[in-house]
């Protein structure tokens, strides 16, 4: 259990910068998500911490100790691989015991700790089976038990749930989070699935092209994206382009390209007359049949035409045409449908839900 400090780490493969001056700090016991599209550098950073990749520049400290020169076998780091990487010729127990036995721990203690680990991942009685006799979710838990049984300083998870189907993945997310809380190991998760990162992480760093674009709590990353990339990557986003017409403290009036005015509220560095891109999340918007029925606290309102209504079960997704731009709105499935395809409606949202972002 340790803090992890990454300072100015860079790694190049030929002319491609896999990691470009990345600095991050993971607190003791924190669950930290590294999120980004494939090739964004998140896996390279994870493998640098594990020791499989040697950074060209920068330093990585675990518990205050610089680990660049520490060989992999002495780094004391647990890792769960994307395909689990369970040893097919060993039983589940032997898989879990492997890290303990190479450290020369006594037979009795190994047996006790393997039992504990099996209990932790709820696989008591499965010790004698071979990995391929287990389901995907069970294999995933064996991999987790194997990674934590030696009580490593840091637990690294490389797309740990990527191979599971959706229902099992959601169930395992909850279980993974519970186990991590229980053992309290500083955990680093690599994933390209924003929902997984939001569900599991205490904090998230969003990667693109080898750089950390934004880091923060799931709430900060989702509700206050600083760039169009982060907004787009963290779920669906509606974009508007305009110019700052008036600014008064935290209040801003932005005139969109088609002449409509939109209010934004919140701290911003933008000066008057600056070009700006705005993001509004689909679930923050409401649909109203007439201008009179718009919720009164919604400062922003735009006329739109419904192009498509998609019933999703728990919610309904509307695809609308708003002055030539495509806009999505989610509505909870508790009210009767408010619009039919082809109908003219009003979309509205609060000024605080308008988020100005960089390009």
């Amino acid at each position: 259990m340790s803090t992890v400090e990454i300072r100015g780490v860079s790694k190049r493969y030929g002319s491609v910068a896999a990691l470009d001056d990345v600095s991050l700090e993971f607190a003791d016991g924190e669950f930290f998500g590294l999120l980004g599209p494939s090739g964004s550098g998140k896996t390279t950073l994870l493998r640098s911490i594990a020791g499989f990749v040697e950074p060209d520049r920068g330093s990585i400290h675990v518990g205050g100790e610089e680990i660049a020169r520490v060989p992999i076998y002495r780094r004391d780091i647990g890792m769960v691989f994307q395909n689990y990487a369970l040893f097919p010729h060993m039983s589940v127990s032997d898989n879990i015991a492997f890290g303990l036995s190479v450290r020369g721990i006594g037979r009795e203690e190994i047996r006790a700790r393997v039992e504990d680990a099996l209990k932790l991942v709820r696989l008591e009685g499965y010790g004698e089976r071979r990995p391929r006799q287990l389901s995907g979710g069970q294999q995933q838990r064996v991999a987790l038990a194997r990674a934590v049984v030696s009580r490593p300083r840091v637990l690294l998870l490389d797309e740990p749930l990527g191979a599971l189907d959706k229902n099992l993945r959601q169930q395992m997310q909850i279980e993974l989070k519970q186990i991590q809380r229980l053992v309290g190991i500083t955990t680093v998760l690599v994933t390209h699935d924003q929902e997984e990162a939001l569900t599991l992480s205490d904090r998230i760093a969003v990667f693109n092209q080898g750089r950390v674009i934004q880091a923060g709590t799931p709430g900060e990353i989702y509700d206050s994206p600083r760039s169009a990339f982060v907004a787009d990557f963290m779920g669906e986003a509606n974009f508007f382009i305009g110019r700052v017409a008036r600014r008064q403290g935290d209040e801003m009036q932005i005139v969109l390209d088609d002449g409509a005015a939109v209010m934004a509220s919140g701290p911003s560095r933008l000066a008057e007359n600056a070009a700006v891109r705005l993001v509004v999340r689909p679930e923050k918007m409401s649909i109203s049949a007439s201008e009179a029925s718009i919720p009164p606290h919604h400062a922003n309102r735009l006329a739109a035409t419904v192009e498509q209504v998609v019933f999703m079960g728990s919610s309904i997704t509307y695809r609308l045409n708003c002055a030539g731009a495509e806009v999505s709105v989610y509505q909870q499935n508790q009210d009767p449908p408010r619009a039919a395809e082809g109908g003219a409606v009003w979309i509205s949202w609060r000024a605080t839900d308008t988020i100005p972002v960089d390009d």
Partner: protein, 284 residues
């Protein structure tokens, strides 16, 4: 279903026909010959007898030769494994791209040259005043001759050279099949290179080693070219004696009987190893 059955029939019949004509028929005929009292195309009338098989068990010479051939097979298979496995390991886990392809080509290249030429090339290398001898004397002029042609080691060198590619290729294939993340996982769990080799790589590549050992052991037990050309007077093995029965002495029945006894011994050895092999292969 009927149509599927017919297409399976159509696809497999040529293979079975070919195997019947090329393998089963000659072996059956040979099996018949092995019970004849005289060579089948000779002048003497032939009758059915078990004498040829009895010869093997009554004359110590033959059982001594069989044991000698089996020891030779074990030695060559072991040497091939000792040399071939590390080579395959380097090819599969240390090299990539151009170098791997180039070295693999070098491994396969001997297959494309004639076996007889390969063996005679060794006589040039191993004989007195041969390449090795000359090289040694260029550096140490007073050294005694190191020509080892017509000796047991010369046979072993020639056989190892002939069968090493089988071992390298079978080991290479099973080493290639090992997921590299297993090695990463073991290393991350604190294992060092020798532990990874012993506990991960060797057990997982055992099928390749086993197949390689069988592919070298079986033909070496019956080999006659290398012992004859490189072994000289040392080169009497089961293989050369059987060859003599067919080409020199013209005693086909004895040659056939000795062949089947050798085949029986090899099959018995493989059958003894079978439980071990099966347990190891199941893990796949």
């Amino acid at each position: 279903m009927a149509r599927q059955g017919r297409s399976i029939f159509a696809l497999t019949v040529p293979t079975f026909l070919w195997l019947t004509v090329a393998v089963v028929l000659p072996i059956t005929v040979m099996f018949y010959f092995s019970f004849l009292s005289a060579s089948p195309f000779g002048t003497k009338p032939a009758s059915l007898t078990l004498d040829n098989y009895a010869t093997f068990f009554t004359k110590d010479f033959y059982s001594f030769l069989a044991w000698r051939s089996i020891k030779l097979g074990l030695l060559v298979a072991a040497l091939c494994a000792l040399i071939g496995f590390p080579a395959a390991l380097v090819l599969s886990h240390r090299l990539s791209g151009y170098w791997r392809e180039a070295l693999l080509l070098l491994v396969i290249l001997p297959f494309w040259s004639n076996a007889l030429i390969r063996i005679f090339a060794w006589t040039m290398v191993l004989r007195e005043q041969g390449l090795v001898d000359q090289a040694v004397h260029a550096v140490l002029p007073w050294a005694p001759s190191v020509g080892i042609l017509y000796s047991y080691p010369a046979i072993v060198i020639g056989l190892v050279h002939s069968f090493l590619p089988y071992m390298i290729l079978t080991c290479y294939i099973s080493l290639q099949a090992i997921d590299p993340s297993l090695v990463d996982a073991a290393r991350g769990l604190g294992a060092r290179d020798h532990t990874i080799l012993r506990r991960i790589i060797l057990p997982l590549s055992f099928p390749g080693l086993a197949v390689g050992a069988i592919l070298t052991f079986v033909p070496v037990v019956g080999a006659f070219m290398e012992p004859r050309i490189l072994g000289g007077r040392q080169g009497i093995t089961m293989g050369t004696v059987i060859e003599d029965q067919f080409t020199e002495v013209f005693n086909w029945p004895l040659g056939a009987a000795l062949s089947f006894i050798l085949l029986g011994i090899v099959l018995a050895i493989l059958a003894l190893c079978y439980p071990l092999l099966r347990a190891r292969f199941r893990l796949g």
